[in-house]
Symmetry: C2
Subunit: 379 residues, 2 copies
């Protein structure tokens, strides 16, 4: 009997410290780093039912349930992960991990550099999707997981799943690549560059060493978030949600007047309070750099040829950040290789953010796909 | 015989000073203001061959030819306006006028407020498309032009042509509304709001009175321009022009690395040197406010019902700022009114900027349309 979909409940984050230095794509390495992670469900005796959830730009290891130290803090993919949910924690052992360089507990620019006793700040290296995947692989080693039943993620998280399938092919049974792209377009890079320009030119950025000055580049982070937010929502959705609705109390001033202005300012204020500017810069750069086909002269099929995983690729019709056409590039490359690839293009009005939302068709596709995987790994 | 398309040559800008105060939509009025303008071609004896060219966000009265005081400064629509060109100055008397509140010579935030002897700065009123049109109408009065053969413009310029047709219907024989929209979408407003946020939060903005502090909000203007620029170019064009091409000399740093980054920074630097922040804020607000249908309960046909002009509406397939669908809204409203409306949807790869470029099909449509107008007014 299918359990009633529920919450994984109160969740305590764990920390794993890695003594051995991790070599990074930039040529540097990082020693004595920590990764913060959460787990939901139970690892079976065969250690075959683990699913790794990779996060996107501004999320964390807190994928599902309520944070033990702050129960109102619900995981960012709680509608997807839990008992009876598409990623069913009554069948799978699910891991959420905060990436290296992030600002939610894993070692990053806000962490203390043991070499100096001060925050890394600007000196923290630029990490890549490949670096994240390698760090995640070491965490899997530490947890005794040699092969994942699934590695999954949306947006930048989907890129990590794709990278895993190439870089550590035998450790991935299935890869769920959702609302992702094989690389960023010039327009995607342009939006990232404007966001970075806003941060880099904020006088309180201090070349990344703002912590030493006791300030934060709030203005830059605000603008960066506003730009990002516009690209996460479809034009249609924005029109439906806000249209040209105005607030009654302003006119002929620069105070927020249209509802969309108030909404963006609210999102910007919230984000700039909790997010780290150095992290934002690095994660957008990791996005820009991700391009597995580059090493194969732009041939994505060739780049994906080491992959042995089965794939579920999902896109959303109104996603203009990573459009369905970009997901189809991945699917076509996989099919060219004779890989086992399923593709779902979900008609959803919400734009890129759709991957985070509770769309019944989307969730049904993921549930059905992982249902078959559960049958295999628990047989 | 059609003359060989050429330049209008060296052009001297003229200034007209208006003693009578102009009432503005915001409830204030402005006294003792000046408009800077240029003219090309010769007004005929019947005064029936005048064409008014309205400019968009960052352009000016300098539409065609070489500025007399700086011959390398070529007018922004020089490919469109000149002897033998689509707007044929051997047949028409063409006027380019810098709008009120701009920063290219007409009275605006950088001008001296006669009441204080200091630059208006933050105290300059928020002007609207309606205000610009009313100011232009007074200039037409001063030049003895009671009715224009055509009023035309692209983008925000097209909105002015549309506004003229409603507000001063009997003064407009034909209106050419190019790459425009009947109002801004929530997404359009959102992009404007981010650009404004970048300027308003620049610490050197000083609530708009930066001139008194001897500084300029360069950082904010740079980011604003970068955001705008992304929306002017199609994704396809950006991909073709820049793709993911990188410069060889940078990697794992925040220096410009992809060609698109260098390009955006270059555009931002250039723009922030010559443009005024208070003007940018006001023009984006004028864009946000423009919504003729609002006064008719959202019924655009009703809003356009006073218009007696004939219309040529032009859009470009890859324009995602003001998409063809927005132009078709205008055409449908006009047809609903039984107005004489022609529509050309030009297959062009350049996005919104296509209205400024030398596309042969686009220019042929405008040339043919204005050719018939020339036959009428010079008959």
């Amino acid at each position: 009997m299918t359990p009633i979909p529920g919450s994984v409940g109160l969740i305590e984050a764990k920390t794993h410290r890695f003594a051995e230095a991790l070599p990074l794509q930039c040529g540097r390495s990082i020693a004595g780093y920590e990764l913060v992670y959460e787990t939901y469900g139970t690892l079976n005796a065969e250690r075959s039912n683990a699913i790794l959830v990779c996060h996107a730009l501004n999320a964390s290891h807190h994928v599902a349930g309520m944070a033990a130290d702050d129960p109102e803090n619900i995981g960012w993919w709680d509608n997807m992960v839990g008992p009876g949910k598409p990623v069913d924690t009554s069948k799978f052992f699910v891991i959420g991990v905060n990436n290296l360089g992030s600002c939610f507990g894993s070692t990053g620019p806000m962490s203390i550099d043991p070499a100096t006793g001060k925050p890394y700040g600007a000196s923290f290296p630029l990490v890549t999707v490949e670096d994240w995947v390698d760090a995640q692989a070491r965490l899997a080693d530490a947890l005794g997981i040699s092969r994942f039943a699934a590695i999954m993620g949306g947006s930048l998280g989907g890129m990590q799943a794709l990278c895993w399938s190439i870089r550590h092919p035998h450790r991935v049974r299935t890869a769920l690549v959702i609302a992702a792209a094989p690389n960023l377009s010039a327009q995607n890079i342009a939006f990232n560059e404007v966001a970075r320009a806003a941060i880099l030119t904020d006088p309180e950025f201090h070349d990344g060493d703002f912590a030493a000055h006791g300030v934060k580049p709030i203005r830059g982070l605000r603008v960066a978030r506003m730009i990002g937010h516009i690209t996460y929502i479809s034009d249609e959705q924005m029109a439906e949600k806000f249209g040209r609705q105005t607030r009654a109390d302003a006119k002929f001033s620069f105070a927020p007047e249209f509802q969309i202005e108030s909404y963006l300012r609210y999102q910007a204020d919230k984000f700039s309070q909790y997010f780290d500017a150095n992290t934002y810069l690095r994660i957008t750069k990791a996005l820009d750099y991700f391009d597995p086909a580059a090493a194969a002269n732009g041939n994505l099929a060739k780049a994906l040829s080491p992959a042995t995983a089965r794939f579920l690729v999902v896109s959303f019709t109104t996603d203009w950040r990573f459009s369905p056409a970009r997901s189809r590039e991945i699917v076509e490359a996989l099919l060219e290789n004779g890989a086992d690839a399923s593709y779902a293009e979900i008609a959803a009005p919400h734009g890129h953010d759709a991957f985070l939302l509770d769309d019944p068709r989307y969730h049904a596709v993921v549930a059905a796909y992982l249902g078959r995987v559960a049958d295999e790994v628990t047989a």
